[in-house]
């Protein structure tokens, strides 16, 4: 499984800004956007580890400018079990 990257923001606009910056910065796929509740939105991307790191960094920098950035995280080698979890998210979105 590829690496996963997360950027969590407070509010939708910052999240969209982050997603845009992430997709532009590196070769990553946006796997999902999760509304966590309380106005928190998480953007999740997938790709090789270098790209994911670059995307998360760019996403964080952009989100900070337009809204509130809550957290960032990279999982370089996700456990295979996570794959099913994200498949669930993807299917839910369809």
């Amino acid at each position: 499984m590829n690496s996963l990257g997360f950027v969590e923001t407070k509010g939708f606009v910052a999240a969209v800004e982050a997603a845009d910056a992430m997709a532009k910065a590196a070769n990553v796929t946006i796997v999902g956007t999760e509304r966590v509740g309380g106005g928190l939105v998480a953007i999740i991307v997938e790709g090789d580890v270098g790209s994911v790191k670059a995307a998360v960094d760019a996403g964080a920098a952009s989100a900070k400018k337009v809204g509130e950035l809550v957290s960032v995280h990279v999982i370089a080698r996700p456990n295979a079990a996570l794959e099913d979890f994200f498949k669930g998210i993807r299917e839910k979105k369809k």
């Binding site: 590196a26 090789d48 960094d57 900070k64 950035l69 809550v70």
Partner: protein, 459 residues
């Protein structure tokens, strides 16, 4: 809420001239931010400062113990031949020059070539025919060096410009394959060119450096049917790691992608046969092992591929007939000359031509064998002396550079200066000191260099 430090924050700190960025324990520092801090020499300081001495001790741990001693093939130049060639480079009378990964010493012949240009400019005044002939001769000599047809060769001014010409010649908006795979072992300039082209729609991915090397498995894993080009270096400028170009070409071509090789750290020290190695595009410059001066570089492009490349980094010398002076349309040259831009670097071409003649005379295969012997000496002696050698120990997988990592509290540039006082030219880069000999280096000189280096590092 957590504070998050990104690469951009470090960039800003740098622009403000800061030498350190302080953060608290709640702050998340992204890997990109850490990398930027390392590159710009900015200290990341956690508020309740971590114990520093521990990390220094960790870093100094020698990491070579389990490596097998290396073995080189026999061959190379005899002592007599080396002594004879030394006469060609006056500075070698008094200096041991092992900074060839950065700039080679001046030879009498290259100097004479430059003087020929100066003389023609002085006495004839304007002598374009002769000057342009000099550029063409340099291209021919380069073609000979890599076994290409001269029509497959273009002249450029630096590897940066050469790579830009190539990157700009792909219509990224229309190109169905959008990916460019480059590597973490590139000389950074190459990466900057590709990253700058992301705004036109290409996507850049990196082959990681693992233990100072690039692995074929990673090429196999990352290069895919979406990949337009794989842009990689023959030899890693940091530690001399040398790749198996043919094996990479096979992987790249099996995915229908193209191979662009940066040969700067190898040219002049390793035989290149673009056909046998199946290289699609190659760039290199002349001031390192090709014995030339700054200001010139070359592009090779396989004949069959030429037509698809339409550079927007361009100019009149890239046109089929530069002296047509048409103004309403583009008419790219049939050959690789389509990658050329403006008035070529004439004086550098005179120097480059003579430098490459010397290399072709000595013979890249023999130079390679000679350098493998010197590498064996440098690696094994470096180990024995307890130096932190960060180059591959298999001499067939390394170019001339043997890199010694300095301790955290040492400055590689200071080491370079100290060595200069001992009449030895080495080349500092980041945290390493590079020892990069050439065909005019003797084994006993490598011994002197390594012993002096150990002395300076232990002072």
């Amino acid at each position: 809420m957590k504070n998050i430090l990104t690469g951009e924050d470090i960039q800003q700190a740098r622009e403000q001239g800061k030498k350190e960025v302080i953060f608290d324990e709640k702050t998340i520092v992204t890997d990109i931010a850490k990398e930027a801090a390392r590159r710009f020499d900015i200290q990341l300081v956690k508020k309740e400062a971590a114990p520093k001495t521990a990390t220094v001790a960790e870093k100094r741990e020698p990491q070579r113990a389990t490596r097998p001693p290396s073995r080189a093939s026999s061959g190379g130049l005899s002592r007599e031949e080396v002594m004879e060639w030394k006469k060609e480079f006056p500075i070698l009378d008094s200096i041991i020059h092992v900074g060839n990964c950065s700039q080679s010493p001046q030879s009498k012949r290259v100097r004479q070539a430059i003087e020929q240009y100066m003389e023609s400019w002085l006495s004839i005044g304007m002598d374009w025919e002769y000057w342009i002939e000099g550029v063409i001769e340099a291209k021919n000599e380069f073609a000979r060096l890599i076994n290409a047809d001269p029509v497959e060769v273009a002249v450029s001014t630096s590897v940066s410009e050469a790579t830009s010409s190539i990157a700009s010649s792909i219509n990224w908006r229309q190109e169905p394959r959008k990916r460019v795979i480059t590597t973490e072992a590139e000389f950074p300039t190459v990466n900057y060119v590709w990253l700058a082209h992301q705004k036109y729609g290409c996507k850049v991915d990196f082959i990681p450096v693992r233990n100072g090397k690039l692995e074929l498995e990673d090429y196999d894993r990352l290069v895919d049917e979406e990949t337009k080009m794989v842009s990689t270096t023959h030899v890693y400028y940091q530690n001399g790691f040398k790749q198996d170009v043919k094996a990479i070409a096979d992987i790249v071509h099996s995915k229908g992608s193209l191979l662009l090789l940066d040969d700067y750290q190898s040219s002049g020290t390793h035989p290149i046969d673009v056909r046998e190695m199946d290289i699609d595009l190659l760039t290199t410059g002349n001031l390192k092992y090709l014995l030339g001066i700054p200001g010139i570089a070359f592009i090779y492009c396989k004949k069959e591929l030429l037509e698809q490349f339409k550079p927007s980094v361009t100019g009149w010398f890239g046109q089929e007939n530069p002296f047509d002076f048409h103004i309403r349309y583009l008419d790219y040259a049939q050959g690789a000359r389509r990658f050329e831009t403006g008035t070529p670097p004439v004086i550098a071409a005179f120097a480059a031509n003579e430098g490459m003649r010397i290399i072709n005379e000595v013979g890249p295969q023999r130079i390679k064998e000679h350098i493998e012997k010197l590498s064996e000496k440098a690696l094994n002696l470096g180990s024995e002396l307890g130096l932190n050698v960060i180059s591959p120990f298999d001499v067939t997988r390394k170019g001339p550079t043997t890199a010694i990592q300095v301790a955290e509290d040492q400055d590689s540039h200071h080491v370079e200066e100290e060595m200069k006082k001992k009449n030895i030219i080495v080349s500092a880069r980041g945290e390493a000191v590079r020892v990069a000999p050439h065909f005019f280096t003797l084994e006993e000189e490598i011994e002197t260099v390594m012993h002096e280096l150990a002395r300076v590092l232990n002072e």
